[in-house]
Symmetry: C2
Subunit: 416 residues, 2 copies
């Protein structure tokens, strides 16, 4: 790998090997959305340098979101990535012609937006440790995993309109809950607000036609890249509403993603074997390619006017079902995917209690507390708490980071 | 009401009092999508006459889908409707200047498309007869309605990408099912493919901001208009997959809507009292305005190479929860709605067995058959069956029709 003319600080999430995409605007022109990649503490403004790419890729790079680039497919993604690495290398046309001042912008001077227009958002439930924990808490250890769980990647359709970018505050929701032992529900602010540590990937490629499933070993062509996700969850509202059609308003109050989309190409050095599956899955889910990744994930909680505390350390590799199996299953009935669609992993919990991806599990349904700095504790989120998710891969001196996915809880609106 | 210069055939769905919107293209120019309203056997091309509307409405009328018009809000909708009625009345500028040949197109010469770009699609479960029937079949008469059912409009997020316009064929899906008594699922074509008779409404107005609920008595401002819907359902796939997060691939194989959007204004003469609710709902769902409608609904089944048989007659008025309560509940947690979002009623079953809105209910879980013409019977849908939903209001000689919502079942792809 060559060396960039942009300085890469020690421990940066964004070396020349990463180049995650985002949609940004300058703070001075907040409505002008453009594409960029991150490099060190800067971004490269892709509209400014679009002329140095192949003609058939320029329109996508000049767009105001990533949907068009996502739609072009993996060969275009590879070509664009290679060209971007060249442009950021010492001695490139950008370096030699001293175009730095026009196309490199300090990250401190920009705003970051949703990377794509998300047509549909699907949330899976693919961590076996998370599904087992939830099962033990609500149904006991003997029936922890539902009978279908090892046969298909359980998932549900989520709400696309309320997917927001890191930094967007989340209002504590109002809703109905059924108090313990009560006959009738009550109305008020959610009392069991939680986060869910997840990762999500964006669908790329032209998409499939309605009625035409995507084969599991072809599905890698449809994975553009990954972001961090916090699937905010109102546990008390969910418990009352979810029978028989699943979570609804408990999940549509907001879902936060990190602004950076780390491409599958950048994650290649961190490829792992898939999670072992037992019993063997049906043929349409049998995947021969490895598509699991060693991505360290961390959750920190920051109360108002206090420091943050690291409360969970997990890893993408704990997922039982792969993104390719998720795509194959999602489309087996013929459902059409479109570029820009978002697919989330479900809460990523590891095996040990310090790796659980939600307060529900960390505090084991409110029977324990999470200890924060300065003697504070939590069972669920309090007003003004900020939840900060971070992720990175690291190996042989190479660090591929995801930046942060953060959101602060605002107090509920008063009940009239 | 004045008289149109366009002839309105006896029994037409589309008199001057209706004027439902659609997106069309001429068969000779299939890719040029434009807005229209139906009038008799013709459509009025709204792009051609946009110049005769207020300047602030012209861009919406020149658009390629209804999203912009939907976003303008109810005052704009009323102004545009009034102006369209004027333009179609005898002696109008269109009539006098003989613009008929440029702006009126026979419906036989056009293709109809999805009326809007649907950002999110939500399916409710709001017919008490349907929910009770399903409950009796699967849980017995004593627990037919879930405890939450009378307290909130149960719903779930659906798949927007696979909502298609009437006439689009639907491929019988492949998927996993668990045979009676089996330990392990099998893979193959869905054997219990069903329709669901529903109606859906499009969200209008600018939409609410994330975190800001819409009050139930304000929600009428967000109802642009209504279409017919068939929510195709793979019963055997659903039964195996839906625990605990709800229906997923059993519902994302395709959802058909009628091309015409009948505005709330056109339905005003058919307003009814809301369905009586017992026990009283929580204050955020207490609606003072009537927002129930007398809309006759019919389902016909047409086998390949045979005539159609009317198999169900239902009515929108059987819905327990109103669209306004659905909106208030959907947004109570702060979920943001956007113009063009689609909200479906859930299967609309009446009280009597001839008014049930699905084959599941009409054949009572396969214990009975539906009789078709020529001695044929059905328990679930067979390949090449076409399901045709129609709807209309009728009173004092005024007929407001919805056109048709039709789709034919294609055979499943062979399993490799
Ligand atoms: Ca989740
Ligand atoms: Ca339905
Ligand atoms: Mg969410
Ligand atoms: Mg459907
Ligand atoms: Ni290829």
């Amino acid at each position: 790998m060559s060396v960039s003319f942009v300085p890469i600080p020690e421990g940066s999430d964004f070396p020349l090997e990463n180049l995650p995409y985002a949609v940004f605007s300058k703070k001075s022109k907040p409505d002008k959305h453009r594409l960029c990649v991150a490099i060190g503490d800067y971004v490269l403004d892709l509209k400014e340098v679009a002329q140095y790419y192949a003609p058939e890729h320029q329109a996508a790079l000049q767009s105001h979101n990533l949907n068009l680039l996502m739609s072009l497919g993996h060969e275009a993604w590879d070509a664009v990535r290679t060209r971007t690495q060249e442009l950021l290398t010492k001695g490139s046309v950008v370096d030699v012609n001293d175009l730095r001042t026009v196309c490199l912008i300090p990250q401190s001077e920009i705003l970051l937006h949703l990377p794509a227009e998300i047509g549909d958002y699907t949330d899976f439930y693919s961590s076996i440790h998370h599904a087992t924990n939830v099962g033990i808490m609500f149904r006991g250890a003997d029936n922890a995993l539902m009978p279908n769980w090892r046969h298909l990647p359980v998932g549900y359709h989520g709400r696309a309109s309320s997917v927001v970018v890191s930094g967007t505050p989340i209002r504590r929701p109002l809703g109905q809950t059924l108090p313990e032992g009560a006959e009738k529900p009550v109305f008020g602010a959610c009392r069991l607000l939680d986060f869910e540590l997840e990762m999500a990937f964006f669908i790329g490629g032209p998409g499939n036609q309605l009625g035409e499933p995507i084969k599991v070993d072809d599905a890698w062509k449809n994975v553009f890249g990954f972001s961090l996700m916090n699937d905010w969850s109102a546990r008390d509202i969910q418990k009352w509403e979810y029978v028989p059609l699943g979570p609804f308003t408990a999940k549509n109050l907001g879902t936060t993603i990190s602004p950076w989309v780390v491409t599958t190409a950048a994650l290649k050095p961190f490829l792992l074997d898939n999670f072992p599956q037992e019993p063997e899955v049906l043929p349409y889910l049998r995947q021969t390619l490895p598509f699991n990744f060693d991505i360290n994930l961390e959750v920190s909680l920051k109360p108002a006017d206090d420091n943050e505390t690291l409360i969970s350390k997990s890893n993408f590799k704990h997922l039982y079902w792969t993104p390719l199996q998720q795509i194959a299953h999602h489309t087996i009935t013929g459902c059409n995917l479109r570029p820009g669609d978002l697919m989330a992993s479900g809460t990523i919990s590891g095996e040990t209690p310090d790796s659980y991806g939600s307060l529900l599990e960390l505090c084991w349904r409110g029977t324990k507390t999470v200890e924060l700095q300065n003697g504070k504790t939590r069972k669920f989120l309090q007003d003004y708490d900020e939840v900060i998710i971070r992720g990175h891969c690291e190996k042989n001196g190479l660090r591929i980071g995801f930046g942060t996915c953060a959101g602060q809880v605002l107090p509920a609106h008063p009940v009239d």
